[in-house]
């Protein structure tokens, strides 16, 4: 902030300024404008990122910081043999592999449905969007009740169609799928809105021309709609993918990572090893690996979108 105030002081008493002075003054202003954000980003984003990388090569244990020493790739080697870590990686992958395609397709289907000119369509848009307006913690608590095997709505409703009863969150084979279903329920409305904006940007005359050529609804979808929203589709798939790799709140609130670690995730392990077991070095190694995964996804995204637009 400092340079900004200095600059205003300089500005007033000088009616005429030489080009050199003006240049210096401008420099003050521009650095002054950028400085607060840059300083904050450095201290609270770049610095911790560098520290995470550094800690990941040490055996830093929070309770005995004086014994910290450089251990090279020791933490990373430990990761490769840690069954809990591998399980968490697998759980996260399962979540990503199901949620990304299913949620994207559900959102697209919803957007196509609510893009029709029908009476009361606004109500349906709002209905599908409603879960987005609540927060993840709130819906996680709510669905823990719904999934209660003995006193839960889910079993009552499934009973009507002759299914169940299920154990949901208390069964190691069902817990992750229960979380997946709820997550899609919560998030699909958000992507639906983005898709909807994209669909409405496709000019009507393209559909009219196709109708004249005798195209059916399916052909229009494949040849006009999908190409028209291709970039949005890629964008949504990637954003959903990155968000899905961060899975934490749902297992933290609903299952505490259980039963039998079936809902432990990468970020859950970063949290647990760091804040419960205080193993900063090891936790940082997981955090860095997590970052690398997100980075790879982002790079793939850029490639994919570029290829598509070229």
């Amino acid at each position: 902030m400092e340079p900004v105030t200095q600059k205003t002081k300089l500005n007033n008493p000088l009616p005429t300024v030489s080009p050199k002075q003006r240049k210096r003054k401008n420099l003050f202003t521009s650095y002054g404008f950028a400085a607060p954000a840059m300083i904050l980003l450095f201290v609270f984003l770049i610095l911790p990122a560098i520290l995470a990388l550094y800690y990941s090569f040490t055996n830093y244990y929070l309770l005995t910081p004086e014994k910290t020493k450089f251990v090279a790739f020791e933490n990373y080697k430990r990761l490769a043999e840690d069954t809990l870590f591998l399980k968490s990686l697998g759980n996260t992958a399962l979540f990503v592999v199901i949620v990304v395609p299913v949620q994207t397709l559900v959102a697209l289907a919803l957007a196509l449905l609510v893009n029709q000119k029908l009476m009361g369509i606004k109500f349906f848009r709002m209905a599908f969007f409603a879960p987005v307006v609540t927060s993840m913690v709130i819906v996680s608590i709510l669905w823990t009740f719904i999934y209660n095997p003995d006193n839960g709505l889910a079993n009552s409703i499934l009973n009507i169609v002759g299914l169940g009863p299920f154990q949901f969150l208390t069964d190691k084979d069902q817990a992750m799928y229960s979380i997946i279903f709820m997550s899609i329920w919560q998030g699909a409305g958000y992507q639906m809105m983005i898709f909807l904006a994209g669909l409405q940007d496709i000019p009507d005359h393209q559909y009219e021309a196709a109708s004249i050529d005798g195209a059916n609804a399916w052909q229009k979808l494949i040849h006009i709609t999908i190409p028209g929203i291709r970039n949005i589709l890629a964008f949504i798939a990637i954003v959903t993918m990155i968000a899905a790799t961060k899975l934490f709140i749902q297992p933290f609130v609903m299952t505490q990572g259980g039963p039998l670690d079936s809902t432990k995730t990468l970020v859950y392990m970063v949290y647990e090893t760091g804040f419960k077991f205080r193993d900063v070095g090891y936790s940082s190694a997981i955090a860095i690996l997590f970052f690398v995964i997100v980075l790879i996804i982002s790079i793939l995204q850029r490639k994919f979108i570029k290829e598509n637009t070229e």
Binding site: F33, M38, A127, L142, G152, F275
Partner: protein, 278 residues
């Protein structure tokens, strides 16, 4: 032909209504149950009555206020998120303006660093950030909840995009009249940029309103505990009473609902434009 179309329309409505039920039933159950007694909630689980508001008791709500400082959680969240939004608008738009309009050494390099920072997931810097905040002695303070989140690389990017598309003429003629850069920014650029300010404000508010992991770690004291963390604690605090939790959840949903109702247009435009730009 016409008959077919009517049948198709009815089919469409059936699908839409079934889907609407799927998306709304948990929320309807939450709100309706919050006004029922505990035995009523459990008795209704097996029937359609679970969604029928036949009693209207506020006992669960008074129960929540007796058991947790709900209003305090709510105010804490509202306060810290609002401060992040306001300071963030200021700091990020200033930086973005420098990147969009000013010439200075290292500008493009600096901006490409900012863009690269967008990729860093918060979860991967959690622990070192905690240690830094601890070093500052900020644990259990509002500073810990606010200051790390003021500057935001993505918001700088959004602002810059918008500023680049503004016509330069107004700013240039103001400069001819001798206005300082700061004055130009506040009196000309900001009024022209209302849409991007509202969009960024909304997106920031909604993001941080949902913050969970960081406040969970950085605030162990009830005096600075935000709503989301308070809800999680209440949920696990025995005795677990469905009615109480439902009342608390219903109340916790209201703030975002209000924001959404008032700013619906901007919100939808905001998420849509965030989608388009990429």
């Amino acid at each position: 032909m016409k008959k077919n179309r009517i049948i198709a329309q009815i089919g469409l409505y059936v699908v839409l209504i079934l889907l609407a039920i799927l998306f709304l039933f948990p929320l309807v159950w939450m709100v309706v149950s919050s006004f029922k007694t505990e035995p009523e909630i459990f008795a209704d689980l097996k029937s359609f009555r679970a969604f029928v508001p036949y009693t209207f008791s506020l006992d669960n709500y008074t129960g929540v206020f007796e058991r947790i400082p709900f209003i305090r959680y709510l105010l804490t969240s509202t306060l810290y998120v609002s401060v992040i939004v306001l300071l963030g608008l200021f700091v990020n738009s200033l930086a973005a303006y420098a990147f969009a309009r000013m010439q200075f050494k290292g500008r493009d390099l600096l901006f490409s660093i900012v863009v690269a920072l967008i990729i860093i997931p918060f979860e991967s810097i959690l622990l070192p950030l905690y240690l830094i905040i601890d070093e500052f002695d900020w644990l259990n303070t509002y500073q810990a909840l606010i200051i790390p989140f003021i500057a935001n690389a993505f918001n700088i990017f959004m602002f810059r995009q918008f500023f680049l598309n503004l016509p330069k003429e107004l700013e240039e003629s103001a400069r001819m009249d001798g206005a300082s850069t700061i004055r130009i920014f506040f009196q000309i650029v900001i009024p022209l940029s209302k849409p991007v300010f509202i969009t960024v404000a909304l997106l920031t508010f909604i993001t941080h309103w949902g913050d969970f992991m960081w406040p969970l770690i950085a605030t162990t004291d009830e005096s600075v505990r935000p709503l989301q963390v308070g809800m999680q604690f209440f949920f696990h605090q025995p005795p677990v009473r469905y009615g109480h939790v439902m009342a608390a959840l219903t109340m916790a949903t209201i703030p975002l609902l209000i924001i959404f109702v008032f700013f619906q247009k901007y919100y939808v435009q905001g998420i849509a434009s965030a989608g388009m730009k990429n």
